[in-house]
């Protein structure tokens, strides 16, 4: 928690005029990473990332980029400045999504084949624990204080609450079909879990694990089965929740006060994952079937630009500095 706030404070000190951040997009089919400058909104580099890169995240200090190279059965760690691979981490087979502890260590990886969550020390490159969870673990979230790790299992349809110290599951919350993603609010007071096939987002009170609300979606002219929530991001003040709706080609904006859908923003095809710039002025979306990234202005809620990246962009992360 303290480290996270320190990191946040550091970014706030950066003058507005210098708000050019670097975004990294994993291209699942292209086997590479596209690097974007968020100020010019242009591609500045592309580098190889191994086979089928999907989940992507970055260390709190912005130095290390972590990429799930799913078909290489490993997590590749790159220098975020030079784009050189530094080393790999043991991940178990077919890693797809992971989450870093707010302190930057350890890394929690969902292993779909083995129904476990693997906890990896990113410094010693060793496996600290394997936590048995439900069938096909996928989404990973961590509470801002780092005490609770949440994993969603796609076929069991639960959010599993794992104590990050004992590695024991202490609660399970049933959600709708095929939960894909778990996202805490910055103050840890709410947890959002998206269910791709169920077509809903479940809002959970992490303190009691009670379900506060189940949010569903509706867009005129879009068949209900195409409304498939995947990536979720929440502004740090909790006022806006953004949900990528997959083949509906839209991002839903949910009001953090009422938990009602405020509007739908048309982006590219099969919108999958989302990432804010550190100043939260922009939200980037990966659009897998149109091979582009959309930039959403968070204040005005307008889609300001789409930029062509690699083949089948999957995940996105923006460096904190």
């Amino acid at each position: 928690m303290r480290a996270a706030i320190a990191a946040l404070a550091a970014t706030l000190l950066v003058p507005a005029s210098a708000a050019a951040f670097t975004a990294f997009v994993s291209n699942e089919k292209g086997n590479d990473i596209t690097v974007l400058d968020t100020d010019s909104m242009e591609v500045i580099a592309t580098f190889d990332a191994g086979q089928r890169p999907r989940g992507i995240t970055i260390s709190p200090d912005g130095r290390h980029l972590y990429v799930c190279a799913s078909d290489d059965d490993t997590v590749r760690v790159f220098d975020a400045k030079t784009y050189q691979q530094l080393h790999t981490l043991p991940s178990g087979p077919d890693p797809e999504l992971f989450v870093l502890h707010p302190s930057g260590n350890p890394l929690y990886i969902a292993n779909e084949d083995d129904n476990i969550v693997t906890v990896v020390d990113v410094e010693s490159h060793t496996v600290l624990a394997e936590v048995p969870v439900g069938v096909e673990p996928e989404g990973m979230g961590v509470s801002p204080d780092g005490r609770v790790v949440v994993n969603t299992s796609e076929t069991t349809n639960m959010a599993h609450f794992i104590d990050s110290e004992s590695f024991e599951i202490f609660a399970n919350v049933l959600v709708d079909q095929r939960p894909r993603f778990a996202q805490f609010t910055a103050d840890g007071s709410r947890l959002f879990v998206s269910a791709e096939i169920g077509g809903t987002v479940t809002v959970i009170d992490p303190a009691t694990q009670a379900v506060e609300k189940v949010i569903s979606f509706s867009v005129p002219g879009v068949p209900p089965e195409a409304l498939q929530p995947v990536g979720v991001r929440v502004t740090s003040d909790g006022s806006k929740i953004f949900v990528a709706l997959g083949p509906a080609n839209r991002v839903a904006v949910i009001d953090g006060g009422t938990l009602e859908v405020d509007r739908y923003l048309l982006v590219g095809q099969r919108v999958w994952q989302l990432a804010f710039t550190p100043d939260e002025k922009l939200l980037l979306t990966t659009n897998g079937n149109s091979n582009d990234v959309s930039f959403i202005d968070v204040e005005s809620l307008e889609v300001v630009k789409s930029v062509h990246v690699g083949q089948q962009p999957w995940g996105v992360v923006v460096a904190p500095n």
Partner: protein, 397 residues
């Protein structure tokens, strides 16, 4: 900050004791059975299609593993009894299974046996038809205690027809086998042609004259026979084969008189499952199955898996293992199942048919998935496949 941290620590401590879903002292048990009724089918044309000894049962084992993993968190236990029977012994086997406490019977049987089993089970068990595609089971022979996880012939034919219509390959040369199931499949294609505006411009019957399925130099004669059999037809875009009995269709690709693609029972085939299906997270599912069984998953395995997952899902959602509670939930409007097909699967209330996308595959890859998105429907696009509510003569709702 320190205060918040302390508070969270207190919360966690209390949660660790109280948050686990209440587990009853005795685990609740859902007991199901898979009843495989031997059909006495002849050997397949291709040795790649030889039926494995665990056909269907392997799907059941994977489903039970999946259900058990979830049940671990719910305090529920799942058991599956595997049973083989012949059409003659099926009824007696059913009685044994019910006596052993199985109240959900997944059947791998033909239409006649399925109906007989459903009538024998009555109120005592729910029958989940995992293999029979017979359209009569979704119409005049429907039963209130029976669910159809297998797609109907109409669904399979409609799935292919939509794709061919999208391709504008709408003039069909239909070749059917001479067995009743082949004739029924051909009728499904005629119905699909009427439904989607295609034309059956030529029809022929390939008579099964018996004999060995494979001989040392069989291809020599096939190369002579098939062009002659398909000679002198009306102009057509595609050859549609209705050959559930596996007598001739596999011999047709590349052997037709006119250079035309083959679809139906060979070439481009409508199926529920295929080992090359990797969309919608299916890769992990395929690998789980392959690790468990040492072979690729076949459509029958998928259908048995889905049938047992229906139970698992109902038990999870209702937090119950009571037969009546599960049955009512499965037949009710809330039921939905995720099954690696990109959208939720639900049951049609009027005839208890599981709605599901159909894969169109050739030997090496998946070509497409129907329903094609251009075919719209007022309720669900999936209802563009098979017997829709106004057409079905079954009115269970």
């Amino acid at each position: 900050m320190r205060g918040i941290r302390g508070l969270i620590a207190v919360c966690l401590a209390s949660l660790a004791i109280g948050a686990q879903p209440a587990h009853p002292a005795e685990p609740q048990v859902v007991r199901a059975a898979v009843l495989r009724v031997e059909q006495g089918n002849p050997l397949p044309i291709s040795r790649l299609d030889l039926p494995p000894a665990d056909l269907g049962f392997a799907g059941a084992r994977l489903a039970n593993d999946d259900n058990q993993t979830t049940g671990r968190f719910m305090g529920q236990t799942f058991e599956v009894i595997e049973a083989d029977a012949t059409p003659e012994t099926a009824a007696a086997t059913l009685e044994q299974l019910i006596a052993q406490g199985a109240s959900f019977i997944v059947t791998m049987a033909d239409a006649e046996t399925t109906v007989a089993l459903a009538d024998a089970a009555g109120e005592r068990a729910l029958v989940l038809n995992a293999t029979s595609p017979d359209d009569r089971l979704r119409n005049e022979l429907c039963r209130a205690n029976t669910l159809h996880v297998a797609p109907s012939r109409a669904m399979l034919a409609d799935a292919l027809a939509q794709f061919l219509t999208w391709k504008k390959w709408d003039e069909w040369f239909l070749i059917e086998g001479s067995h009743p199931n082949d004739r029924a499949m051909a009728e499904a294609y005629r119905r699909a042609a009427r439904k989607f505006g295609a034309k059956v411009v030529e029809e022929r019957v390939f008579a099964d004259t018996g004999g060995a399925r494979r001989t040392d130099t069989g291809h020599v004669q096939v190369q002579k026979q098939m062009p002659v059999f398909t000679q002198d037809t009306e102009d057509h875009d595609v050859v549609i084969t209705a050959d559930e009995s596996d007598i001739f269709a596999a011999y047709l690709p590349y052997q037709t008189w006119e250079p035309r693609p083959v679809a139906g029972s060979a070439g481009l085939r409508p199926v529920t499952w295929h080992p090359t299906q990797e969309a919608w997270g299916a890769t992990q599912f395929q690998r789980r199955f392959e690790r468990l069984s040492g072979r690729y998953m076949r459509p029958v395995d998928f259908q048995v898996w889905a049938a047992l997952r229906v139970l698992g899902e109902a038990a999870t959602r209702t937090r119950s293992t009571d037969y009546a509670v599960l049955r009512d939930y499965i037949l009710g409007p809330e039921f939905e199942l995720a099954a690696f097909k990109g959208q939720k699967l639900t049951f049609r209330p009027w005839n208890h048919q599981l709605r599901q996308p159909i894969l169109l595959i050739h030997d090496r890859v998946m070509v497409s998935v129907s329903p094609q998105q251009e075919f719209l429907h007022q309720v669900s696009r999936l209802d563009t496949l098979g017997w829709d509510e106004p057409e079905s003569t079954c009115k269970l709702n």
